[in-house]
Amino acid sequence: MRVSVQLDDFDIGQELDLFRNGKSNTGAIVSFQGIVRNNSENSLLNMDIEQYPGMTQKAISKYVTTAVERWSLNDALVIHRHGKLFPGDQIMMVATAAIHRHDAFQSAEFLMDYLKSRAPFWKKEITKKGYHWVESVFDDEKALERW
């Protein structure tokens, strides 16, 4: 398993090729790609993602370990960017490898739900009118209950 918290962009195709490599006992890989979405007025100039250096890597690794154990995964990968990002940019990716697709899908959703409201990242949106911190959504918190 690998967790990377980074400023730089990544090549999701290359990451998935590397991830698949040598996994002859894997029957299913699920991947998710998170993108910077413009707001409804199309006024987003850029996003600034702040993180808690030290805690971020540790917190994500903890959830990845939980997912690997719970769904008997062969492997898992999380890449999450921070810093200045623009509409259309990739923010993050998750990939999970399992024997069967059910475990791969479930564990990828689990990781997504936990990254959303338990990984120490904070998004600031800069628009033409100024900036604001993105507020957490009640539904995101609620999503954790099903796990």
Binding site: G34, E50, Y52, G54, M55, K58, A59, H80, I91, M92, M112, L115, K116, S117, R118, A119, P120, F121, W122, K123, K124, W133, V134, E135, S136, E141
Partner: protein, 82 residues
């Protein structure tokens, strides 16, 4: 000495990303009360604790968590990753 860190709008309201403090507080809550007594900017930042989360030594916890020997306490709004 304990390192107290602030993130996102909490950092902006308090005006520094972190500070080193000498404290006798036994719990996170006591530390919050101590800070609120210090200056107005802390009172503003900590006015609604339900809007805040806290981590002690980089582990999420509740406000009644004990500090005994902790090296680091961080205050921040709910996370918005993913």
């Amino acid at each position: 000495m304990i390192k107290v860190l602030y993130f996102a709008w909490v950092r902006e309201r308090i005006g520094v990303p972190y500070e080193m403090l000498e404290t006798q507080s036994g719990t996170v809550m006591e530390l919050v009360e101590e800070l609120k007594q210090k200056e107005e900017r802390y009172k503003v930042a900590f006015s609604d604790l339900s809007a805040l989360k806290v981590a002690v030594d980089q582990e999420l916890c509740e406000f009644d968590a004990e500090l005994n020997g902790a090296l680091e306490v961080a205050f921040f709004p709910p996370m918005t990753g993913g």
